[in-house]
Subunit: 132 residues, 2 copies
Amino acid sequence: MSEAPGGAGEGSFNPYSRACPSRRFLKFLGDLWTVLVIGALYEAGSPQRFTEISLRVDGISTKMLTNTLRALERDGLVLRHQYAEMPPRVTYELSPMGQDLANVLRDVEGWATGHMQDVLDARESYDVAHGE
Amino acid sequence: MSEAPGGAGEGSFNPYSRACPSRRFLKFLGDLWTVLVIGALYEAGSPQRFTEISLRVDGISTKMLTNTLRALERDGLVLRHQYAEMPPRVTYELSPMGQDLANVLRDVEGWATGHMQDVLDARESYDVAHGE
DNA sequence: CTGTATCCAGGGGGATACTG
DNA sequence: CAGTATCCCCCTGGATACAG
């Protein structure tokens, strides 16, 4: 019952090894746009259109929104619905697995905003102690 | 009681706004090296030396390990201890706030490794359906 | 051992223009 | 509206050499 640094058992994935696919995946999950897009879809609670998402995620470019949504869809985290209308209408929503992930990422987001002030203070102390 | 996309109340931080400092912080927290270094320190359970950390986090360069540790220390998430010895000895450990964060990030890591296979399968299905 | 300093290639990602 | 296609700059981050 020896454990790798990641605590993964045998036959599992371990992001602490550079060759493991979970490392790249973890990197993707941590990507700012990934986190915010998933969070936006989660917050919305209903299928969102391309433009709606871009409005919720301030500053995201069409390129990155496209890339992010495409990757999320490919990974089975987001469901894409296309309607044969004119003008075209496309919506995105979290898959069950995506919603599960959203809950995890939401904790990270909550932790970040919840401790932001502490961190800001810590930085100030550090900068003062280390000569700006 | 209106809510921003991030669900943050007034006076709080909201990473969905590009100007909010929490966005940059969230980006830092999601960074691969940040996640793995914190995870490594958490797993270790005791203060770790520079070299020990680099061994746990496969593939990290001295530059990035230094940068990451420095940033974590500045943010009050990691405590650095320096001993006046020869050869020099320095150890790092999570601060109480850092340990709190570690628990959150650990869930993300666990989610990633726990769903890696599902994602791998989803990708294969997607690629087949969309012509490789 | 624990970093720091520099160089530099590669890729991420913004801005912009254009299409079905 | 929902993207796609390019250009292209910048900045990340690896490699390397060196210092305390």
